[in-house]
C-alpha cells in the first residue's frame, strides 16, 4: 500500500539545518497498522506530513498504491488525497470554528466531486459510524467535547472513502478514559472498512494495542522495527529497551520487580546530530566504535530489524 524509501526532510533555519527526517524506509501493507513511535521531536509527525505531501521531501521516494508521489504537483496529488487521509493530534485546532460539524464532514465530498444528492445521507451515515448523533450535524465545534471533536475529525477523514489514514497522535490530546474509546473505534472502522493505518504515537501501550507492526524512531531515523508482540516481548535496540522499561505497569508488585533503565541526558538537538550511531550519547552500553560507526537496520530473524550491531 505505502512504501517509503530513504525519505529525508531537512528544514533550513537561521540556527542551522534541522535533520527532521533522515533517511527513513518503511512499508505498510494493505489492511495492517504500522505504529510509529518515538520521543517528541524525533521527527515522527514530520514523517507523516511529508508522506502526505504537506512538506516537500528533500530526497527518497514515497510510493503509494504503486504510484511514485514523491515530487508530483499538488494538482496531480488530488486523486491521491482522496485515497490517503489524515487524522490530527489536536481536536481543538483541527476543526474550523466557523463551520458546522456537517459542513466539515461534507467538505471532502465537495472537493472530490461526490454527487451532491448523496451528501446529506453520507454525512448522517458517517456521524452514526463515529458514534455521534445525526441531529448534531448543525452544531459548531465549540459545542462538542474533545472526544466528540476527534470523532468529527475521523468522520472528515473517512468522508472521501480513503484506503489509508495517517493517524498523527490522534489520542494524545485526549483524556485517558476517551483514548481507549477512540482507539477501539479506529480498530472497528479498520475492520469494517478495510483501512490501512500509519499510527503515529508516543504512547507505547496504545500502539501495542492497535498495531500489527511497530517502528521505533530516534532523531529522524528508524532504529528498530518488528511485529508488535515480538517488539514488546523481545526488544533488541537499547533505546527500545529503555522506552519499554518506562511504560507504567498497573500492578504494584510487578512494577517494583521491574528494572527501569533511565536514559542519560536530553534528546540531542536535531541540528547538531551526534556522529556515528545517533544514540551513542545516551546509550547505556555504548562502545567507543559507536561514535564513528553509523549503523543500518539488520535482519535479526522473525521479521525483526534492528539498527544496533551489538545485540
Amino acid at each position: 500500500m505505502l512504501k517509503v524509501e530513504e525519505l529525508t526532510k531537512h528544514f533550513h533555519t537561521s540556527s542551522g539545518t534541522v535533520h527532521s527526517v533522515d533517511g527513513i524506509s518503511l512499508t505498510v501493507s494493505k489492511g495492517e497498522t504500522l505504529g510509529l513511535v518515538g520521543e517528541s521531536g524525533c521527527g515522527k509527525t514530520t514523517t507523516g506530513r511529508t508522506i502526505i505531501r504537506l512538506y516537500e521531501p528533500d530526497s527518497g521516494h514515497i510510493i503509494f498504491g504503486g504510484h511514485d508521489i514523491t515530487h508530483i504537483t499538488q494538482r496531480e496529488m488530488l486523486p491521491f488525497r482522496k485515497r490517503l487521509q489524515m487524522i490530527f493530534q489536536d481536536p481543538y485546532a483541527s476543526l474550523n470554528p466557523r463551520m458546522t460539524a456537517g459542513d466539515i464532514i461534507r467538505e471532502p465530498m465537495t472537493i472530490h466531486r461526490i454527487p451532491k444528492d448523496e451528501h446529506s445521507d453520507r454525512v448522517n451515515h458517517l456521524l452514526k459510524l463515529v458514534g455521534l448523533n445525526t441531529e448534531q450535524a448543525g452544531r459548531y465545534p465549540h459545542e462538542f467535547s474533545g472526544g466528540q471533536r476527534q470523532r468529527i475529525g475521523i468522520a472528515r477523514a473517512l468522508a472521501a472513502e480513503p484506503e489509508m489514514i495517517i493517524c498523527d497522535e490522534p489520542i494524545s490530546a485526549l483524556d485517558v478514559s476517551i483514548q481507549a474509546q477512540i482507539v477501539n473505534m479506529l480498530e472497528d472502522l479498520q475492520k469494517s472498512l478495510g483501512l490501512t493505518y500509519l499510527f503515529i504515537a508516543h504512547d507505547l501501550s496504545m500502539v501495542r494495542h492497535i498495531s500489527t507492526r511497530v517502528a521505533v524512531m530516534y532523531l529522524g531515523s528508524i532504529v528498530e522495527t518488528a511485529p508488535s508482540d515480538e517488539l514488546y516481548t523481545n526488544p533488541l535496540h537499547p533505546y527500545t529497551v529503555s522506552l519499554l522499561s518506562s511504560v507504567p505497569i498497573p500492578d504494584p508488585e510487578k512494577s517494583s520487580q521491574r528494572k527501569i533503565i533511565p536514559l542519560k541526558g536530553e534528546i540531542p538537538s536535531a541540528i547538531n546530530q551526534p556522529s556515528g550511531c545517533k544514540f551513542h550519547t545516551r546509550c547505556p552500553n555504548a562502545k567507543p566504535e559507536c561514535e564513528s560507526l553509523a549503523p543500518v537496520l539488520q535482519d535479526k530473524g522473525n521479521n525483526h530489524f534492528c539498527a544496533c550491531p551489538f545485540v
Partner: protein, 303 residues
C-alpha cells in the same frame, strides 16, 4: 434502603426522551448576546439607527425642501416652525442637516464597503501568498497610505472637478489600505492553524482555503475595523467639505453646513451647533459601537 429495581437502565425510548439538546449557538449569536450587555454599544447602535431614520425620513416628511429659500425667515432662530432654525437664505436647517446626514452617511458607508471588498481580497491574497508577492503588495499599500487624502482630492479636482464624485474616489483609493493591512495580519496568523492544514490534506484549493476557511475566521476583526472606518470617512468628508473641497451649494453635507455657519458663529450659533453636533454624535456613536463589537467578538481582550 434502596431497591435494585430502582436502578434499572433506561429503555431506548426513555433514553431518547432524556437526551436534551440545547439550541445551537453560533459565534455571531454569542457575540450579539454579549453586545446587548454593553450599554454604551447599545446606545451607539440606537443613535446610529436614529440618525439613519432621520436622514431617510426627515426630508420626505418635512414641508420644506432642502434648497427652498425664504428670505422672511433669514437667520431665523430654532422654534416651532423651523426646529433647527434657518440659515442666511432662510433655508430650513432641520431638513438641510438631514440632507447632510444622507451625504455624510452614504460617504461613510460607501468608503467602508470599498475598504471591505478591496481590503479583504487584497490583504487576503497578500497574507496567504506571502514571500515576494506579499512584499510587493504591501509596499503598494505603504505608498497609498503615506499620501494624505488632501493630495488626492486636490489632484482629482483638476481632473473631475470638485464635488461628491472626487470625494468618493479619494476615499475609495485611500480607505482600503488599513483594512488590507489588518486582514493580511489576520490571514498570516490563521494560515498556520491546524484546520487549514486539514483542509489542505483534504485537497482544498488555495481559493477555497482562503475564502472558506481563513477569511470567515477573520470576519470578526474585519467587522470591528469596518465600524471604526465609517466615522473616519465621515470625518474626512466633513473636513474636506469644510475647507471647500467637497460638495457645493445648494447641496449640503455636515461639513459644508458647518463651514457656512462659521462666519456668523458669534451671532447665530445654532447654525453651527446642529451640523457640528450631528458630526460629533454620529462619530461618537460609531466609536462606542466599534468598542463594544471588539469586546463582544473577542471576549479575551476585555479587562
Amino acid at each position: 434502603m434502596y431497591d435494585a429495581e430502582e436502578f434499572m437502565p433506561l429503555s431506548a425510548e426513555e433514553k431518547a426522551g432524556a437526551e436534551t439538546l440545547r439550541p445551537s449557538r453560533t459565534y455571531w449569536s454569542d457575540a450579539w448576546l454579549r453586545l446587548k450587555e454593553d450599554k454604551l454599544a447599545v446606545l451607539g447602535l440606537c443613535v446610529i439607527a436614529v440618525v439613519i431614520l432621520y436622514a431617510v425620513f426627515a426630508p420626505m416628511l418635512s414641508r420644506y425642501a432642502y434648497d427652498e429659500m425664504d428670505f422672511n425667515f433669514s437667520n431665523e432662530p430654532p422654534g416651532l416652525v423651523h426646529w433647527f432654525g434657518c440659515d442666511m437664505f432662510g433655508r430650513d436647517l432641520f431638513v438641510r442637516v438631514a440632507y447632510g446626514a444622507r451625504i455624510s452617511l452614504s460617504v461613510g458607508f460607501l468608503a467602508s464597503f470599498i475598504s471591505l471588498f478591496i481590503g479583504v481580497i487584497y490583504g487576503g491574497i497578500s497574507g496567504y501568498r506571502g514571500g515576494k508577492i506579499d512584499d510587493v503588495m504591501m509596499r503598494v499599500v505603504d505608498v497609498i497610505y503615506s499620501v494624505p487624502a488632501m493630495i488626492y482630492v486636490i489632484l482629482l479636482m483638476v481632473v473631475v472637478g470638485p464635488g461628491l464624485k472626487s470625494i468618493f474616489i479619494t476615499l475609495g483609493i485611500s480607505y482600503w489600505a488599513p483594512m488590507a493591512r489588518m486582514v493580511r495580519a489576520e490571514v498570516m496568523r490563521l494560515k498556520n492553524e491546524e484546520f487549514v492544514t486539514a483542509a489542505r490534506v483534504t485537497g482544498a484549493s488555495s481559493s477555497r482555503i482562503l475564502f472558506r476557511h481563513i477569511i470567515p475566521n477573520a470576519m470578526g476583526a474585519v467587522l470591528v475595523t469596518l465600524t471604526f472606518s465609517v466615522p473616519g470617512a465621515i470625518f474626512t468628508e466633513a473636513f474636506l467639505s469644510f475647507v471647500g473641497l467637497g460638495v457645493s451649494a445648494p447641496m449640503a453635507s455636515w461639513g459644508v453646513l458647518s463651514s457656512d455657519a462659521v462666519p456668523a458663529m458669534a451671532i447665530y450659533p445654532w447654525q453651527l451647533f446642529f451640523p457640528a453636533g450631528a458630526i460629533s454624535i454620529t462619530i461618537l456613536a460609531f466609536n462606542f459601537l466599534g468598542d463594544g463589537l471588539r469586546d463582544a467578538l473577542d471576549p479575551k481582550l476585555r479587562r
